[in-house]
């Protein structure tokens, strides 16, 4: 992958960095505030990205590929100026090169600092030290589940 990032991103080379978020995680997140189907994928703005080499396991990756929401991955990688095919090739046609690229996208590209934004309700969730913080403020919590007890 020819990875070029936006002007405000910093890239290190290989790193033993630990505090970072992988794109596979981003692929399962949506906005727990508005819970809209349109909130997925969350818009990703990364201010610190690194790449960490990890072991490539073909069987593992092919299984993971079945779980990934591909459209969401296309949109997100585009936000990071990375190009992946619009549709994934059938398993029989997945070349080593394709798999290794996807391995890099899902597991090796790491977001250390950044923001996730819901395009529906515009709520911004920070990513710091590689941990996306999806905690809601008390006033944002569903009122139906608040338990008011008259003691």
């Amino acid at each position: 992958i020819n990875a070029e990032y936006g002007g405000y991103c910093l890239v290190w080379g290989r790193s033993n960095s630990k505090r970072d978020m992988r794109l596979i995680t981003h692929n399962v997140l949506f906005c727990n505030l508005c819970k809209s189907n349109n909130s997925f994928p969350l818009q990703l703005k990364a201010t610190k990205i690194v790449t960490v080499e990890t072991t490539f396991n073909k069987e593992f990756l092919q299984h993971m590929l079945q779980k990934v929401d591909w459209n969401s991955l296309v949109i997100t990688t585009k936000q990071l100026s990375i190009i992946i095919p619009q549709q994934p090739p059938e398993p029989e046609q997945q070349t080593e090169e394709f798999l290794k690229n996807i391995h890099k996208v899902l597991f090796e590209i790491r977001i250390k600092e950044g923001e996730l934004t819901c395009k529906e309700c515009k709520r911004v969730f920070p990513i710091s030290n590689g941990i996306p913080n999806m905690m809601l403020k008390p006033e944002e919590i569903d009122s139906e589940q608040r338990d008011f007890v008259n003691v």
Binding site: L29, P132, M134, Q145
Partner: protein
Amino acid sequence: RHPDGRRMEFDVPGRSLLILSKEARYVWTHGIMPRKTDYIQDLRRDRQMRVSLTFRKIRKGECGCKYPFSCDSQLVHIQEDHDDKTSWLEQKYVHEVYDTIASHFSDTRYKPWPNLTRFLKEQKPGTLVADIGCGNGRYLGINESIYKIGSDRSINLLRICKEKNYEVTACDILQMPFRDNAFDVVTCIAVIHHLSSSTHRFKALSELFRIVRFGGFVMVYVWAFEQKERVFASQDCFVPWHLAASKNKKGEDLSVAVDDVEEGSKDAIVHKRFYHVFVKGELDALVEKIPNVKILESFYD
């Protein structure tokens, strides 16, 4: 009537003595139904004159009963300040405590339970697993061929997970940021017993099942009321965490987690954690209310 909604009716025969103790006395509330007839085993009985004498001992000073959640003395500050007692209890006696004891808690929670280890190791390569309430990441390192994402409310515990290079998110189990049907497997170990109302406990279970795919599995562990080595006075209780503070010669603070430090020891800081321990069948009953879910196994471990 029990706070969880259960009601029981008793026929108290004439010239009888009814003694209420423990849960019956402290947790259940009592009253006489305001009506003129009763049906005892389908036979109608009209009420006649009733004389009842109630005897009670009056306590002097603060109450130290084992039922703080029913106790006017012990809960009085909650009544005054907080409408949302459930969330307040969870905030003060779960979230803040875990953030405070995080590193010490982590030091004592390193050994995974065998049933869980086996369950995780049995999963096929490429299985996507969520561990909700992952704590220090005890279950996030098992089985390299499956992909695990952990979540917890405590940022301090999550940082510990990050040190070990685990993938984690900060969120609350009651409203999770994971999309529907995202995971093959969801585990939730020793979490739901920290939720202080059945509404919250049910909501948490619903969320766990929302994020697992159709055909996927959810594994939940909670503390049982019935235990061999510990007797709980009631299902809602506080379980202490003892932090023995000591200083070395330089006067630096060395806090060490000591579970068996003597109560009353000068140096121990006691953090109370809220637990609602589950009676047999209680967890099953909650899960049975969730549509499209089948209980595969239910056991005491």
